[in-house]
Subunit: 341 residues, 2 copies
C-alpha cells in the first residue's frame, strides 16, 4: 500500500501521452562518482554536478543526494528526482533490494528522500534508466520492442516493451548477463559458472588478454609493452585502445568477445524477438571492432534465420549520461510495466 | 492495413474487462490430428470433434477446418474461431510465416477462412494458445508475469505479461528451446548446435536412452527389454513409463533432463523474472520425477538466489487440450501485446 502523499502531486502513471512539461533531476550513483543533472522533457541536460561516491552508508548517500539536488535546483523549477543505481529495486521504485553501491536493504529509501527533498522521487536500476533514455531520446526511439545491453565490467540489461519498461514480477528482470551459456565455464561473481558476462564484457576482454600475456605468447608483446610488463594492469580499456591503434592481437581478442556477444544476443532474440538491440557501455568504445563480429555471430546463430526478420543491433546514442537522463525522465513520466496497475 | 470487414463484428481488442459472453471454436492443428472444440467463456469444452491431419496443402487444411466448424456449430451459436498451430504467425494473427504443418507462406489465411466460415478467425502459435489457456483457466491464473514451457519433442514457449501475450516485434518471441546453452553441443533441427531443447525435451530423453542402450551398458537392460531389443524404438515416452515403474536408470535419465530443464529455466528467470513458470507437454507425464530435479537445479542456478524472490515452477493444469481452449479464448478476447495499438 502506498504511504500517504505530502506536498507534491500524487504519483500516478502518465496517460497515453507522456507528460511533456517540467524539469527533472537525474542522479546516477556509480562506484566512484555520483553524477547529477537537470534534464528537460526532450532529454537535454541543462546543468550538471557531481560528487565522489561517499561510501555506501545510507546517511552519507542521502546527504550527497540532497546536496546535489539543492545545488541543481537553485535556478530551476524541478518537479521530480530520479535516482539510478546498479542493483535491484523493488517494482514500485521505493526500496533497494540489493545494490553493490547502496547499503539500504528493504528500507523505504524513496520515502526518506521525498521527505528530505520535498519532491517526488523515483528509484530505479541503472540499466533500466539507460534503456529508457535510449528508447525516449536515443538509438531506440520508436522501437516497439527494444532490448538494451550495457557492456561494462559486466553486462547490464533492460527491456522497453510497448512503451513500458518490463521489469518482471519482482523488479529484477533484465539480468541477461547471467544467462548461463557455458555450463561449467568461468566462475561469475553471481556464484554461478559460465554466465554470458564472463565471455562478453570488459572484464572478459581484460581476463583473456592477461591470460595471453601471462602465457608470454609472441603475439602478446604489444599488450605487454603497453603496460610496461605489469600484466595485471591489462584491462579491457587497454585492449580496446591497442585494437583501435591497429594491434592485430587486440583486434582478435575483441573479435572473440564480439562473437560471444552475438551468440548471447541470438539467445535473447530467440526468447524476446526484439526489433532492435541497443548496445552501450564502456566496451562500446571499440565500436565496429566489437559490433561487426557481434552482428556476424548474431546472424549465424539466430534460430529460424531466413524465416524471420532479424533485429537490428545498434550502438547506444547517449553515452555515459544515458542513466542520468533516463532516471530523470522516468521520475517524470513513470512508465514502468506493473506500476499503476 | 486491415482489409474491410464483412458480416461479423469488427475485430478490436477487448476492453479492460475481457468480453465474457459467447462461445468460440478452438482448433489445434497437430502433426497427426486436427482437434476442435466448442469452448465457453469459462474455458469449458462443450463438444469436441477431430480429424486426421490431411497433409499440409492449404486447400485440404481449409476443407478440414470448414468441416469441423460446420459440425461443431450446428447446435451452438459461435462468435469466433481460433486456430493454433506449431510455427510462426504474424503479429496480427492473419498469415503464417512458417509452420511445419501448414504450407501457407505469407498468404492471408485468416481472410480466406473468414470468407469461408463467415466468422471472425484468429490464427495463433500453439504454444501461445496453450499459455493463454493456462493463464486464463489453468495453473497460471492470476499471475502477472507468466512464462509457459511446453515439453514435447522440442520445447515450446510463450509469455503472458500484464495480461497480454507478449509475442515480440515480429510475432516470433518465446522460442526458449533455441537458446544455446552448450556451444558446439548437440545438433538441433533449427540449424544450430547446443540448443536447450536438445537437452531438456522428450527427444533429448529418448536420444540419451538410446545412446545408453547402444553402449549396451548393464544399467540399460530394462530399457532394452522394454523394446525387445529394438533400440531405435526407445522414445521419451518409453523412458517415462519405465521410470514410473521404478527403473532406476530411467529415473536417472529423467533426472538428467530435469537438471537441464532447471538450468534453462534459471536462464529465463534471469532475463524475464516471471512469478510462475508453468510447464506442460507430454514429457510432464513424468511428473515429479522430472519437476523435482528441475526445481533443485533451478534453485541452484538462479542468479541472485537469496537476494530475490524465486519463481514457482508448476505443472500445467489443462493437459493436451490447452492449445484448443486457448485458441478459442484468444479468438474471443484478442489480448495480444501489439494488437490494437
Amino acid at each position: 500500500m502506498p504511504t500517504p502523499r505530502r506536498h507534491f502531486p500524487p504519483r500516478r502513471p502518465a496517460g497515453p501521452r507522456l507528460r511533456r512539461r517540467g524539469l527533472a533531476i537525474g542522479i546516477d550513483i556509480g562506484g566512484t562518482k555520483v553524477a547529477a543533472g537537470v534534464v528537460d522533457a526532450e532529454g537535454h541536460i541543462l546543468r550538471e554536478a557531481r560528487r565522489a561516491t561517499p561510501g555506501s552508508q545510507p546517511r552519507e548517500v542521502e546527504r550527497v543526494i540532497v546536496e546535489l539536488v539543492d545545488e541543481l535546483s537553485s535556478d530551476y523549477r524541478i518537479s521530480s528526482v530520479g535516482i539510478g543505481a546498479a542493483g535491484w529495486m523493488d517494482l514500485e521504485g521505493g526500496t533497494v533490494l540489493f545494490s553493490p553501491h547502496l547499503a539500504w536493504r528493504n528500507e523505504p529509501l524513496r520515502d526518506n528522500l521525498e521527505r528530505l527533498l520535498r519532491r517526488r522521487v523515483l528509484l530505479t536500476n541503472d540499466a533500466d534508466a539507460a534503456a529508457w533514455a535510449e528508447w525516449r531520446f536515443g538509438a531506440g526511439r520508436g522501437e516497439p520492442r527494444l532490448v538494451c545491453i550495457t557492456l561494462g565490467t559486466g553486462i547490464g540489461g533492460a527491456m522497453v516493451l510497448g512503451g513500458r519498461l518490463e521489469r518482471g514480477r519482482y523488479g529484477v528482470a533484465g539480468e541477461f548477463g547471467h544467462q548461463i551459456i557455458m555450463p561449467g565455464g568461468h566462475r561469475c561473481e553471481c556464484g554461478n559458472r559460465g554466465c554470458w558476462e564472463q565471455y562478453a564484457s570488459g572484464n572478459a576482454l581484460g581476463r583473456e588478454a592477461r591470460e595471453l600475456a601471462r602465457a608470454n605468447s609472441p603475439v602478446a608483446q604489444e599488450l605487454i609493452k603497453a603496460v610496461e610488463g605489469d600484466i595485471e594492469a591489462i584491462t579491457g580499456a587497454v585492449v580496446t585502445e591497442l585494437a583501435r591503434d591497429g594491434d592485430p592481437t587486440s583486434r582478435e581478442l575483441l573479435e572473440d568477445v564480439g562473437e560471444w556477444l552475438g551468440l548471447g544476443l541470438a539467445n535473447l532474440a530467440a526468447a524476446l524477438d526484439p526489433g532492435t538491440f541497443v548496445v552501450g557501455g564502456g566496451l562500446c568504445d571499440a565500436g565496429e571492432l566489437l559490433l561487426d563480429p557481434a552482428r556476424r555471430a548474431f546472424a549465424r546463430n539466430l534460430t529460424g534465420r531466413g524465416f524471420r526478420p532479424a533485429a537490428r543491433i545498434e550502438r547506444a546514442a547517449l553515452g555515459p549520461r544515458a542513466g542520468l537522463i533516463g532516471a530523470a525522465d522516468l521520475s517524470r513520466v513513470n512508465r514502468v510495466a506493473g506500476w499503476g496497475r
